[in-house]
């Protein structure tokens, strides 16, 4: 019998230590402190690197069960401590159950056995009911008319390319090991491989994304973005310091990696602030009038993670992709043979 941890270890430890969940992490949100507790927020100052930058270095996890958009039946911005605990418990149990031995998902991944479920990773507890903090309703703004038109065009183009398993190019980018939401940018957690490593060298910040062994190397020297005709999956990123906060601006994205349907002209601003010894606040703003009627912002708390990050050779070991395509062709062959049998019964 496998041991099932029903609450992420870091949260269980915090709970055992009597950590007050009702107190949002200092600086978590300007509005949060005032709304949830009357306690004065203690302002944390990050240690400095030898060249005087706020020190964000180390291993971090952006695991979370908080949905990007606020559930339709929730009207408040923050849960109470008890509500948040209950939701984490329930979500952890659900994730553990999805890989009951003998079930179909269990054949693909046994999440709990291989440490692929969130209950085994470091996780910061946020009381937020959605990752989206702006608009205030916690939901994506409506699509602009151009956004609606492009969404329809993309859906039609997808359909014209055939079924999802007709060719490798029709498979999702994640299944192809090309790019995942954990890479972004923006970088969002998923069920597994939510670990990041930040290092700071003079003139650069490096963010190693565990998923797909993807290193984001961000120059801090004020150089311009890449020429407009040079488009990359992860765009062109340039960073700077705004007080305690690392700000990374990204442009030059492609039409191929459409983040929630974004356009290649999306302008992304990511802001990293160390708000406690063990917590980094990651807030990003998406500005893409070609897709949404207004800019929107989301916030994820990153928790220190013991590391290290092991090589994630996704493409090299991608038997799943091969078998999906080969399996689809085998199914077609079998269906064709059965159809032929029915046509000409002996």
């Amino acid at each position: 019998m496998k041991q099932r941890f029903l609450v992420p270890a870091s949260i269980a430890v915090a709970l055992a230590a009597g950590w007050s969940w009702g107190t949002p992490v200092a600086g978590q949100s300007r509005s949060a402190g005032a709304k949830t507790t009357g306690a004065p927020a203690k302002v944390y100052t990050a240690p400095r690197t030898p060249d005087g930058q706020p020190d964000l270095q180390g291993f971090w996890s952006n695991s979370t069960f908080t949905p990007l958009e606020r559930p339709k039946d929730v009207t408040k911005e923050f849960y109470t401590r008890e509500e948040a605990l209950e939701l984490v418990k329930r979500a952890s149990a659900q994730e553990a159950e999805q890989t009951e031995p003998g079930t179909v998902p269990d054949v693909h991944y046994d999440f709990t056995q291989f440490g692929l479920d969130r209950s085994q990773s470091a996780m910061a507890l946020s009381l937020r009911t959605s990752l989206i903090v702006d608009p205030p309703d916690g939901r994506l703004p409506p699509l602009s008319s151009e956004g609606q038109r492009r969404a329809a065009e993309r859906a039609a183009a997808r359909k014209s390319r055939g079924g999802p398993h007709d060719a490798v190019q029709n498979e999702p980018l994640g299944a192809r090991c090309v790019l995942m939401d954990r890479n972004g940018p923006p970088m969002l957690g998923g069920a597994y491989n939510n670990t990041y490593q930040i290092m700071q060298a003079p003139g650069y910040v490096m963010i190693l994304v565990e998923m797909l062994h993807d290193a984001r190397i961000i120059p801090l020297d004020g150089r311009p973005q890449l020429p407009a005709n040079v488009r990359q999956w992860t765009g062109s990123s340039r960073g700077r310091w705004d007080g305690q906060t690392l700000v990374i601006e990204t442009t030059n994205l492609t039409d191929k990696f459409a983040f929630l349907g974004s356009s290649e002209n999306m302008h992304l601003t990511e802001r990293f602030t160390r708000v406690a010894e063990d917590t980094l606040r990651y807030r990003f703003t998406v500005d893409d009038p070609a897709t949404w009627t207004r800019p929107w912002s989301a916030e994820v708390l990153w928790k220190t993670d013991p590391g290290p990050i092991f090589e994630h050779a996704c493409h090299e070991g991608n038997y799943g992709l091969y078998n999906t395509l080969a399996g689809a062709r085998a199914e077609e062959k079998r269906a064709a043979e059965e159809a032929a049998k029915k046509k000409s019964p002996k």
Binding site: P50, G163, I217, I309, Y322
Partner: protein, 267 residues
């Protein structure tokens, strides 16, 4: 008396300078990081034809006819100490088979992680981000990443493509000890190969502010009769706007790897 002292001082100062200059040609003292170690931060690239073949080889046509002269093999001299790789006889036969079938077998063609030492002399730049605990080597090709653990040495927890690297400083030299490899990577496009018993010890030493001497001792008792050594200089990319560009080559090889599994148009 004063004049005597002055000329004596001048002579001794001149002597000191001569000695210092002599020492400099023997051992360059690299600029230092905040923690006092030689500073290897930067974007580096080998300038060598060894990515075709680490041993001496003449120019040759491209194995893909359509690519003509644009992808022809550039001739180059051996980067192996003593010239030849000391293969065991049966391993040499396998190397020759690899070469004959290189279009099918070379892991580079499939955008697989290139392994060590190959990553360091491919025709792409790589960046070193240096910290006291970790030194990162971030390669253009396939976005390969190596973490060099400087203070938390341990055995590889599992086999991997880029290996598990423990590093330490020996004066001016960064020494990196890497093991825990799988047997899937090659040393070049000529089919030079190894087994999962591969053990590589690399030495990075600054020879000027803009070039490093890279040496690697390669040990694999399953394949070679003795350890052997390669060395190539790595040059700093001096362009003001130099940066590692995205090379997400998985997308480039999908048709090659999975194209035969495309659905046939129905009759």
């Amino acid at each position: 008396m004063r004049n005597w002292l002055r000329s004596a001082l001048t002579v001794s100062l001149a002597l000191t300078l001569v000695i210092a200059a002599g020492a400099q040609t023997r051992m360059f003292r690299a600029p230092r990081t905040a923690d006092g170690k030689p500073n290897f931060n930067g974007i580096w690239q080998a300038l060598t034809e060894a990515y075709w073949d680490v041993e001496a080889h003449a120019a040759a046509p491209s194995p893909v006819i359509e690519l003509g002269a644009a992808h022809a093999v550039a001739g180059g001299l051996s980067i192996v100490d003593g010239g030849a790789i000391p293969y065991k006889p049966e391993a040499l036969a396998k190397k020759q088979q690899n070469y004959a079938n290189r279009l099918k077998l070379d892991p580079e063609i499939k955008c697989y992680l290139p392994g060590v030492p190959r990553a360091n002399y491919m025709p792409y730049p790589f960046q070193i981000i240096q910290g006291p605990k970790h030194i990162m080597m971030l390669y253009t090709f396939a976005g390969a990443v190596r973490t060099i653990y400087m203070d938390d040495h341990k055995e590889a927890p599992a086999d991997s493509w880029m290996g598990w690297s423990n590093g330490h400083w020996e004066g001016e030299t960064l020494v990196v000890d890497t093991a825990g490899f799988n047997d899937q990577t090659w040393f070049d496009r000529a089919g030079n190969f190894h087994s999962e018993a591969l053990h590589v010890v690399e030495r990075f030493t600054a020879a000027s502010s803009d070039h490093l001497i890279y040496e690697a001792t390669i040990e694999d008792p399953n394949v070679f009769t003795r350890p052997w050594k390669i060395s190539v200089p790595l040059y700093r990319r001096l362009e003001k706007n130099a940066q590692i560009m995205e090379f997400r080559c998985v997308e480039f090889v999908e048709e090659l790897i999975y194209g035969h599994l495309r659905k046939k148009p129905s009759q």
